[in-house]
Symmetry: C2
Subunit: 430 residues, 2 copies
């Protein structure tokens, strides 16, 4: 079983090391030895530390390596849309198995890869693309195939979870917590992809596609990052017995016309501290799955890092290698349900709104009227303070996002509302 | 794709219902409709509620049903060793795929089933046998195959977890908590299999076999139940920032001669409240997996109940049906590592020991000497009280179980030790 490795950064080097260290076990599990046919890198000279591999295997001609006849499996750990897509499509079309950790490519244009896999009757595996080492995609693709998944709620970005956990623990603001994360190596020099939710949105698209047997792309995902989360928001959440997490939420349900559809979004939200996701700290990832028969499930583990990601890549390598030896391929992309993605305005969410208001008779009645006008039902309201200090905290029941957003807009315009201190979505509650 | 269902109790009836309700989805996922060829039951007359199935499909001749030429897949949800073994062996030998939830049979004599599957080149799936709906076996069998699992720590019995959670929450004793569990339907009329750890031990054997690529049977598992856990134990654990859980622990490591081996045990243990397993409450199950590259993973969900178990059974039915249509079978039993199981005396554990002692000078020195004699290193010691009330709480570092047990025995014989109030193992700590 001969393997072309595209990319030799942190993950790639770890894959090389594990292939070497566990060669005997892997041979026993696959039924044949796995050999590296070549390793494509951008620059030949770079110091990659001591790797247990013949230096002659390195090449800068990735496409040439992919096309070689003696390559059975192509493993892509470069990332980015191009040239990774060209390489993978070439590999799959020509019947080679492909393993990739490339969430951005899968979320933006997974269709091209799946189509190429169908054309070449080849295997496409990508367990490492979502939640690193956590075996998640295979359970979704296979174990739960006898069930109907209704909702997937995940903490799928370690950087933002580290930042929000730090803010929760110390009361620090976003900027301060981001600095700490950068110092400790949990955030990249340019943290945009993480803190603005792009990384989580890509994973949300992949999860939604698998869970709901439909093609969902990154463009379908409503995305909000955590840069707007303040220390005051975190304190508000604490006062409610909640914590703030950046969640990716994919759910199945009726749209405004009653038709079956999918909603996929990434945004910060308050969840009760008693929720299993609330205790997922530091840079850990976890994905909470709700299915009709199975009930609530959670998968937890390390979502990033060289070793955990390499573990997932190696699991996939073993699977595709076994399939090749058996002369079979895994079930192909399952998109038979072909559900539409409904717009964010139709997503049903709950809001926690903190208002500074004038301490006047009738304020609560006026505020409540604004909610009622849009059919937004209030779950709890807390009024406190006196004179210039009066504040109202309103938590709604579930309502369409559009109605909630419009309600907040109208509240903002009322002269009895001095300011809106915090607006947060609430998830995972009863 | 024609299916013989053996057993139509809670799980079987739910399988029938789900096959009916989700027929269109299942057909799309499998690529062919799944039909029920027959349902074997012990008694024909029993009221099974309204089932969406032709009454003519029921039979009391299970073996006859299994042997029918028009049956492709046999699903066994009867439980127990015989006659389930005879039926499954017959099915597998003749090349039919088998799906079973029978943990007792798999743990006692899984070898017979795997051998029959190899003989008939047939698929044997049993996701529902451990931790109900939690997709766990497939990740162990497949996703982590590129990694080396070092330890599996699980809460795999819902009844005992409900009882221990209640004792922790209310301070109730074991008997009282068991009564509550029985009333609420979480414990059976005869709770022996659960509270004495037999059920957890069967699951431990199955998990260890998969994790370590070796055949481990129930007889290899050291087993202690929770009937000896007292309210005082629970209080001691709380004082240490811990909670008590019935854990199944399967670990890989050197035996006393340094040879690679496996240790498998089921017993109550204190774990820190900060450990991910500590927050697994009520009747939920969770399995914590440690692997060299992947790091720490946890799988959480409902471990029992008709719907969750049926979800796992249906996932397996879809998998074996797809394999049959593709003309392939899943990787067979992986036992190449063939590791020996080391005796409990060689398992490395930690003890928490609570002693009532005479308040005399030199007591601590004498007690410490008993630990030192057997090379058991003390992590912390807490001395409190005065006169007749003096007590010592000792927590050890990791040491072989045999040395720890002998230490406790010697302490029990000391005249300065009035009584040993509590001995508990400690797991999941630093």
């Amino acid at each position: 079983m001969r393997l072309a490795l595209l990319g030799c950064g942190t993950v790639g080097a770890e894959v090389v090391r594990l292939l070497h260290e566990q060669a005997a076990d892997l041979t026993a599990r696959v039924g044949a030895p796995i050999e590296i046919a070549g390793i494509a890198v951008r620059r030949m000279g770079r110091d990659r530390g001591p790797l247990p591999v013949d230096p002659a295997l390195f090449t800068t001609d990735a496409l040439g390596l992919v096309k070689r006849d003696d390559v059975d499996v192509v493993v892509e750990v470069v990332g980015g849309i191009e040239p990774a897509r060209t390489w993978l499509v070439e590999a799959l079309r020509s019947g080679k198995s492909a393993v990739t950790a490339n969430k951005a490519l899968l979320a933006e244009d997974g269709g091209s890869l799946h189509d190429a896999a169908a054309e070449g009757q080849a295997d496409l595996y990508y367990e490492a693309a979502v939640a690193g080492a956590i075996p998640l995609l295979r359970p979704l693709r296979e174990s739960l195939h006898g069930d109907r998944i209704t909702r997937v709620t995940g903490i799928v970005n370690g950087t933002t979870n580290f930042i929000l956990s730090a803010m929760d623990a110390t009361g620090a603001g976003f900027t301060e917590a981001l600095e700490e994360a950068t110092e400790l190596g949990y955030a990249e020099a340019d943290p945009t992809a993480d803190v603005e939710g792009f990384d989580a949105a890509a994973k949300a698209a992949i999860l939604a596609s698998l869970a709901f047997h439909s093609r969902v792309t990154a463009a379908d995902v409503h995305r909000e990052g955590i840069t707007g989360v303040t220390a005051a928001d975190v304190a508000s959440a604490k006062a409610m017995g909640c914590t703030i997490k950046l969640l990716c939420i994919a759910s199945r349900g009726p749209d405004s016309t009653g038709a079956d559809s999918v909603s996929v979004r990434v945004h910060p939200a308050m969840i009760p501290r008693t929720h299993p996701l609330a205790s997922v700290g530091d840079a850990f990832n976890a994905v909470f799955v709700e299915a009709e028969a199975a009930g609530q499930l959670m998968f937890y583990g390390r979502g990033a890092g060289g070793s955990p990601t390499a573990s997932a890549v190696l699991g996939d390598i073993v699977a595709v290698a076994r399939n090749r030896l058996a002369g079979v391929r895994a079930p192909s992309e399952s998109v038979y349900a072909d559900l539409p993605v409904r717009p964010m305005g139709e997503a049903v969410t709950r809001y926690h709104i903190s208002l500074d208001v004038a301490d006047r008779a009738g304020v609560l009645a006026t505020v409540a009227g604004v909610f009622a006008k849009r059919d937004v039902s209030i779950a709890t309201v807390r009024q406190s303070g006196r004179a210039d200090d009066a504040s109202l905290v309103v938590v709604t029941h579930g309502a369409p996002e559009a109605a909630l957003a419009a309600t907040v807009e109208e509240l903002r315009g009322l002269d009895i509302v001095r300011s809106i201190a915090s607006v947060l979505r609430v998830e995972g509650g009863a």
